[in-house]
């Protein structure tokens, strides 16, 4: 009965504290997150009723993962708990020229082995206004790809807005299918597609090599006429602690760009793309202009860099104050 429904894996994230590298750690900071759930978490904080669908282990760590989603106000009624492991990733923050490092230990998870038929999408999606998935899900297993396909099909049928974050991850896609065999059919049914040129090349195929985002958008939309919006961020990485970020939103006609944010220092860039996605959904559900939409989404993504964890924790007002350049960084009391 939520406005926003997302589907995807929830992972346990262990992060080396402070500036330590992984092998220096004698303890690790723990949060739970996942690309699609992170979007739901931001939206739920902003007052958009949100429901995340996934499968988790039935032991106390699986329950802890669910409790983390609950804490943001996400509806977890459609989460299935079954025996198995939870996917894990290890994170080492980047500092200056040292890049952040992610070690995935997510294979063979309870989510990977889900039974697609155990999700009753007709019921789950009843009354929803938006369904969100990402390219991580169909990369994991035939089961998860099937569940994703089922969800999209039902959402399309119910005329629910569908967003897909292509999120190409080279190291997943291990179950015998290539992205190009699976992704096009899913993308074709989306209203909103989030991705950059590399994502398009790997998951859809572009007729010709380009570095021009608009040109790529035009080509994709021709292939997949359902797509109404394509959006991405351009990130300039001076080093791991200093990035520039700009959002782009293509609406079949033209690109609208946000202002460019100079982010220094960066606390934790994981989840900034999900915050961006959440900003797009929140704005679209409130019928904001395209300019307001891309500005809000980019401000949300920027804001995420300033705090630890996978999930953006910020009110709409806080993000808008960044976006409106009011009191940037000033102490008010």
């Amino acid at each position: 009965m939520a406005d926003f429904i997302s589907f995807g894996e929830v992972l346990m994230r262990f992060c080396a504290p402070g500036a330590q590298v992984l092998s220096q750690a004698s303890s690790m900071d723990l949060v739970y997150g996942g690309s699609e759930a992170n979007v739901a978490a931001a939206l739920a904080q902003w007052g958009t009723s949100s429901c995340h669908v996934t499968q988790l282990p039935d032991h106390s760590i699986g329950i802890a993962a669910k409790q983390s989603l609950l804490s943001y106000g996400i509806n977890t009624n459609h989460i299935i708990h079954k025996p198995g492991r939870i996917g894990i990733y290890f994170l080492e923050h980047g500092i200056a020229m040292r890049a952040p490092k992610v070690i995935y230990d997510r294979f063979n998870s309870s989510f990977e082995h889900l039974d697609p038929s155990s999700f009753n999408w007709d019921e789950i999606l009843e009354g929803a206004r938006w369904f969100h998935w990402s390219g991580i899900t169909p990369a994991i297993s035939a089961n998860t790809a099937q569940a994703c396909k089922d969800a999209i099909r039902v959402a399309r049928k119910k005329n629910i807005t569908i967003s897909g974050d292509i999120n190409y991850r080279r190291v997943l896609w291990n179950y015998g299918k290539s992205p190009k065999e699976i992704m096009p059919e899913l993308i074709a049914q989306c209203d909103w597609v989030i991705g950059g040129i590399t994502d398009f090349e790997n998951c859809i195929g572009l007729n010709q090599k380009t570095e021009d985002f608009e040109q790529a958008c035009v080509e994709i939309q021709k292939k997949y006429p359902q797509i109404k919006f394509i959006s991405t961020t351009h990130r300039k990485t001076f080093n791991a602690s200093h990035n520039n970020l700009q959002g782009l939103l293509w609406n079949r006609k033209k690109i609208t760009t946000s202002k460019v944010y100079d982010i220094q220092p960066i606390v934790d860039r994981i989840g900034s793309g999900d915050a961006f996605m959440a900003g797009l959904v929140q704005s679209a559900l409130h019928n904001k202009s395209e300019n307001a939409t891309i500005e809000f989404a980019t401000a949300a993504a920027t804001y995420k860099h300033t705090m630890p964890g996978d999930v953006l924790v910020a009110s709409v007002t806080e993000i808008e104050s960044i976006m409106e350049e009011k009191n940037i960084g000033k102490l008010l009391r």
Copy 2:
């Protein structure tokens, strides 16, 4: 029997660790501080005998607050312990474009309910060379305003140098009086006034809108001929982690400015104004030139940004080495 006497509330400060936002915290870092006590703490470390006057609860947290002042070498003989609560504030550090956040939970404190007659200012101020108050105290309650007024009156009578840091805080001033009803009488008796144009506008009233600090000083001094020095800092906030800071000191005739410090990164800017104030007092008590005074005060304020807590912890030598641009940031061993 101290050279320097300050009067004001001491608060418990809970700060979200590292870059966490308040709602992410499962523990909070704890220090005790307060604008006027922070000045005394810096001075005591620099060898100026200092005594802080306040009222605190009589339970073990009130004692812990007193112990914190004692640890810097502050004389606490005139602190009164009475039942009640201690004022609290919650701090979330700013990072990059995310601003620092302060949530005050200081109302109804033991200090707010002090009985002005319980402080024997004649005895407290006996032998002192300097009395310091800030605009936070008269903002809290009629009781605290009265006590502040009493102290200033006695100090004036004893010919003790008086400094007042206007420190306008919009969210205080809840007891039915406006700053303009209370502050002018207090400021009129000061030798040193610390404040910026916004402070003046809110607490004194300026005849005409100005952005020129010197012009404002001239106008104020006309109204309050006792004032000998007015001082402030100009802060340029690029973001929460990167500020420029410059000190200004007006001496009835002209403005003396310090060098401009480029501070990046900022660890904790709370208490930098109090460190500045302490730098002014220390220099004045040692008869430094105006140039040396404003340079030392600004270097002290700058130094405070590099360490956690409310209180500047640094020797005179350490501050002077910043001020003299010797070995800025260099490792010596």
Copy 3:
């Protein structure tokens, strides 16, 4: 639409880490909890749909308190956020002969100033099977007493089972009413009353001094014929780290007692009474025998002593294994 509805204040709890006393702490551990909410938190973990009703500040700490409830699966739809402060308590764990210490800083909270008319009990209680309150709520202010009275009245009307935990706290009750003026009317409408002889003496009045729990129950039930069950725990305190605990349940006819648990060491005894209460409700809602009920409740209370925080975190199975003396303390792998 929950089966179980509780009403009461949610507090911020700051606890000195490990064995430190409060004045030694340079950081404090933070959790959120409250007697009635703790009951809901345990029940929600056990699969009983639970909804907690309260008023909290509208700033980020008020939101963090709500998120804490959400994390256990509690429905927070009827929580009101209004400006004000959150009640706080400071905890110092007891060790050996050193007693635990609680310093309350809960006065003047947003909850204390709630407007009773802002809670639509008819709607809140619709479809519920159980309403729970405690004697802390009517002790706080006339407003909170009124809201409690309203809730009980509506629950009675809807024929919902009502439980009241007398929870007499001497230091509250500051608004001009004594417990005996307020509590009897509320207790009279309860089906379940939780309390010991001291609670009864202070909140109801007993005709004659007794140390016999059963005799006290008989007397109370005569006065308040609606009461069906009275329950309490008997605690023998060898020292702060070593207690014995036994549960008692009186059913108008006789006392049923649980086995006696020897608890050593004790990690954190806060919330053990709330875990006991939750155990009673859970058992009653599942129509357990009186023997099974008191055994489960006492096992739940016992289990709470072994973990930090206000809230019992344990599955029904884990509690039952204690209760059934299976593998007490044994490592299984």
Copy 4:
């Protein structure tokens, strides 16, 4: 070229800090360990040259695991690094009646997928005096069972003393073989067998149900005449924080028992069996009497309960002072 060679998996252990349950943890303490490696770690600290053989991932966490072994002075020259994951287990300490909880997440590890032919046992075991394995290894996969079998065969051929810790873990043994199909052949070649009656029943089969350890030993030795010693500990669990522990050593003729240790409180009982095993090996390699052997091994096991982690960190002198009941728990300075 080490005196002692062990073979077995090394796991990453994440433990909820202090008395927290797993779902309360926002960070977890990290150590690396494994039953067989823990034995090598204790022996290396005691001056017995020790070499641990295993397979680990080739990423920075696999390297960290190796560095952990190195830190104790273990020779790691025969560790193979290959792509894959490291096995993990999650630990929640028990307190009072709350049992310790272990959640295994060790399937599909790099070790599980090792290639038995990649270990050149002839070279690895050259010059060794003792080879140690445990029943965990053949439980993991056909590969690991084969590698274990190979190692035992070569050790037997070289006339190296072989010890096997039966260490029956019900939840492992998932690859299609039962313990009774695999273990007897391995046990038959051992000189020292460590295990209790339950281990024997599950892994070897006993002709008749018995609770008499000596009787079981006699029966097993009849079947497997190579076995010279069978050893075990008897543990009486009052609760998770309070155990009694006694060691037993059967030498084909009779049982020698150690004194009984009363252990309260228990910090971490993981690895106490491995410390016991190490104590047996150390004593045997130094030709201690059977009485001295079982006393030293039991004291080592006892000592392990007093410190966090998988590995006993103690000198021979420290263990002997427990064993000799000198200055038990006394501060000397």
Copy 5:
């Protein structure tokens, strides 16, 4: 101008966190303390004006040590800061049968090299009622022994009560003198001597071997007729976490004994002897009966076991509630 003057070294104490052994620590907890300063710290908290005399390094760690004393309200006006190192000790807490471990790294400290003539005892002791020293100071160097002798001589002359805690530490006494060459002269001038039979044997010499404390007292007093009271504690060590403690006070005529405290668990026993000493002084300065004196001192010593650090942090009321067996370990709220 303080009532109580103590003289002795202040050390930096690094303690392995929790139950870790020293070699497991990747951080260490830091406090500052010293036997005589710990006495002053307790007394200052109890309202007895106290002054500690010592020599410390002039760098920021020497200042931190002084600040630690200041925080308890100790007068530090007679502390001398001179170049050199601060003495250090490393502590590993004992648990169950594992004994606490102290590694001294205190040689060659700034205190060891003090110049006896730099302390003007006539001025320092002016107006004092009590002087306290311990046998640690004359054990360190000829310089410190001389300073101690000087202080005692002046105190005797001024008729100030003198207490000496024999505190025999075998590993000190490295500068070429034996305790028996130095201590008798110092002890001879004391009014109060704190020590047990081992201390007496090592520092004074007893004519005949005895295990009877009273008999030893009689013999000592005969030799040193100035002595009015001899006091000690009897400790029964079940293990490092469980001790019994009883105080004894001999008054030239008879022994008065306190009740016996059963302490379990023990958090940190360091400083319990100093808390005992402080209890004796506090009681004597308030002219308590011998029974009240030994009960208060033993309760103070007992209380110290329940908290980390060198210094007892407790009010007189808290100690009296232990002593009077009121609400032992009970939570009051």
Copy 6:
């Protein structure tokens, strides 16, 4: 039997956590390190067999120091454990304009008192390809200077490449010799010398004052014709958090310079010179070009600034990716 042999003291390093100054710390982070051992640690991680020679205390902290070296894969067979203390240094990180602070407490260590004859250099250096020492060792005592001289003599005889890092530390050199009396003889036998102009002036003497590194190199090489390479880094310190770094390598003919790294923020610059040294050795042992050598060494030094501790923890690949400017600071997954 290692390729690389280093000789030098290993210290205990206590560092104030985060941005705290030393006197704010209530705990300190602990690592073990030393200039020469840090070189061995980096090399061992890179697959170069390395052996560090030193003397350490025989207590558990001395063992912990050894275990730290072992963990990196360093051979510790020639470490001597003898009674005494371990040298300590206290570190306060610099931030912005606040400089890092080091307080040495290293005098009188077990290493300082080593017996030069206890090291059998003939055996230690047998089969080695490289011997490394630094100017810290001969600065400590006549004993350590002698041991260093012995090692160099034997290495020269065996035709092992010798590197000396001049590492001039003004505050050491306390035993009655000046650097110029000792260092020239040692430097004369080196193939590689690491040092800057200040080092040369203090330890060798230059005929004329110069700021030209190449000119200084030419002069030195004339004096000491054995020297084949002289290398140093040029560091530009904007503030403690922002430095530029460039490496220089002189080969008797010309200077080769690395690219200039802009490092911001700096986590911990301790050990960056040792990482540089390790980079030179690693490259030289693999016969890299001079350009590749200085680029790798400078990249290694740069990388060290991004992590806490004395020791660089990084793979060759990670350093090369910095050096090749591939994905600087980018998250790959």
